[in-house]
Symmetry: C2
Subunit: 333 residues, 2 copies
């Protein structure tokens, strides 16, 4: 065999293998997470600072990262979040990781996209308890922010649209590729153990995948919480009806992503399930009318833990200092 022929044969075989992998991958109801693309890096760096800046809150103590902590799976790992003056939030903080893949933001989908979401907590009296006007006043008084906004947006005045656009651009980078499950999808067949693979097959055959599918393994539809039997929520939230006003949407919530679900405990919109075995058990019973055996539950949980991807990795931002003219926070007023 001539070396040239060998090369061609190898290339053809590789090509066939790739096609085979792609075909197999296309047939799976879950697709790999793709790293962030087409981002504006200047806007990302500005948005990162804003994401970590507690001066966007009335108290000067709460930032986006307080409840969507990037050290902890993009959540606060608390049942329901802590807001201004230690107010107890009505709902569990969903993860910011891979949230760019959601069909809409918030559990009830009331924000169309990340930009629309970002302004919400700043002005929510139970969360950061500030106003957009006051937040802009703070930013306008900080010379280094003034310069950075001007550099990124080429405008003389900072406005809330720029703020939420920058935060959203940063959040677009918070995807978590390279989970072991994605490695398996992409052809590394030894990336999963036999139990994890058995868990994935149970996840598919039991019907979990009907709602938890796509690259985010969820996040792409609204579904009723409590299909087979009613869910007794500890939260007063009624879900999608708050947006549509339609009675049919009562207790319809956005299906949460299961990406990094090992890190995003506690589970459900009311944070009532502390552990994955508990969450899988409740989901099986209330959504599928199915009681998983301990062995089945363990295998599904093992599969779910293969969805933990590479966490966002970046240098902690250093925030520009306030100037003498910057209004000071008022945490105790």
């Amino acid at each position: 065999m001539s070396p040239r022929f060998v090369l061609l044969a190898v290339a053809a075989a590789a090509s066939l293998a790739t096609m085979g992998t792609l075909r197999a991958q296309a047939a799976e109801p879950i697709q790999p997470i793709v790293p962030a693309q087409q981002v504006n890096l200047g806007m990302v760096e500005l948005g990162k600072k804003l994401y970590f800046d507690p001066r966007l809150s009335k108290s000067g103590f709460i930032s986006c990262n307080s409840c969507h902590n990037l050290s902890m799976g993009g959540t606060d790992n608390i049942k329901t979040s802590i807001g201004d003056k230690w107010q107890q939030g009505p709902i569990n903080a969903p993860t910011v990781l891979n949230s760019s893949l959601n069909l809409a933001q918030f559990w009830d989908g009331r924000a169309a996209d990340l930009k629309a979401q970002a302004g919400g907590p700043i002005a929510n009296p139970g969360e950061m308890a500030f106003t957009h006007t006051l937040a802009i006043g703070v930013l306008e008084s900080i010379p280094a922010y003034k310069r950075e906004f001007k550099q990124v947006f080429a405008k003389d005045k900072i406005d809330i649209d720029q703020v939420t656009l920058a935060i959203a651009e940063f959040e677009k980078t918070l995807v978590t590729p390279n989970a072991r499950f994605d490695q398996w999808l992409l052809g590394r067949k030894d990336a999963l153990t036999a139990d994890e693979l058995a868990g994935y097959n149970l996840f598919k055959t039991s019907g979990c995948v009907a709602c938890h599918n796509g690259p985010a393994v969820g996040g792409n539809s609204f579904q009723k919480m409590g299909v087979v039997a009613p869910y007794k929520a500890s939260s007063p939230a009624e879900g999608r009806i708050a947006v549509t006003g339609k009675d049919a949407d009562r207790f319809n919530f956005k299906v949460p992503t299961l990406r990094n679900v090992e890190l995003t405990y506690p589970y459900f919109h009311d944070g009532a399930a502390n552990t994955l075995p508990e969450a899988v058990d409740v989901m099986g019973k209330l959504q599928l009318g199915k009681t998983f055996t301990k062995d089945e539950n363990g295998k599904i949980v093992a599969f779910l833990k293969t969805l933990t991807g590479d966490q966002p990795s970046f240098t902690l931002p250093v925030l520009p200092p306030s100037s003498d003219a910057t209004p000071r926070p008022t945490p105790f007023k």
Copy 2:
């Protein structure tokens, strides 16, 4: 002149210049910050995680970084800090930056060193409101922490000494070398403007330097707040008397470092001064019996802003997830 002789002459001249610089530097009452040395890197990485981990608090919401925020000069930039259930702290949170250079920790010096300090806030009912026993219970239940502690300390059980030792080791790395003032001290004579240099001379000739000296420009003695005239504090704290019981120590506080003072507003143990011009004015009047003119005040402030060094730069740590056995935080109980 032979090339060899030229080389020797140049070397001799350079050596004389270096000696001149070193002599000038030795004569200054402030010395450059030296980068961290002799640190245990495994312990630093573990301590960094613990520093950012809110699971060391009862609520699961407050970490060391909440009040000593490394995005904000190692402080919270709030008059007095926010503790568990939004309790108002009695005193302004001092910066963690360069705190390894302090003669003791806390405003009243009640902790001998960083290790002794680190355990305080965890168990303080007004701060993190946890107990050491409960904090250790949380860490023991997290497999990745178990492994990391074992790797670093080679012991089977985690204890509070290991926790505070690791946090202190991380804090030793939080020094801020390379401020413009240090560049000037090290011989870059164009590192300061004429006004900044004039401010430094005023700082020396007016007497500020009597207390604010050494590498940290403070942090190395206890002094009375209100020497020439009494200081009307908004905080009930009485300073060093709480430690020594001696009446002479009433209102004696540790002289704060002026390193990065541009970032560590508001100022004084009660956080009553919002801006540097205000702080310089009050210090002049109450400690030195001196009213600085607007021009003098501006020059001293300009000098103080040259003390901002390279801020600690590191990747935001990713915390190991809790296990099913980890006790959950109780923020609202």
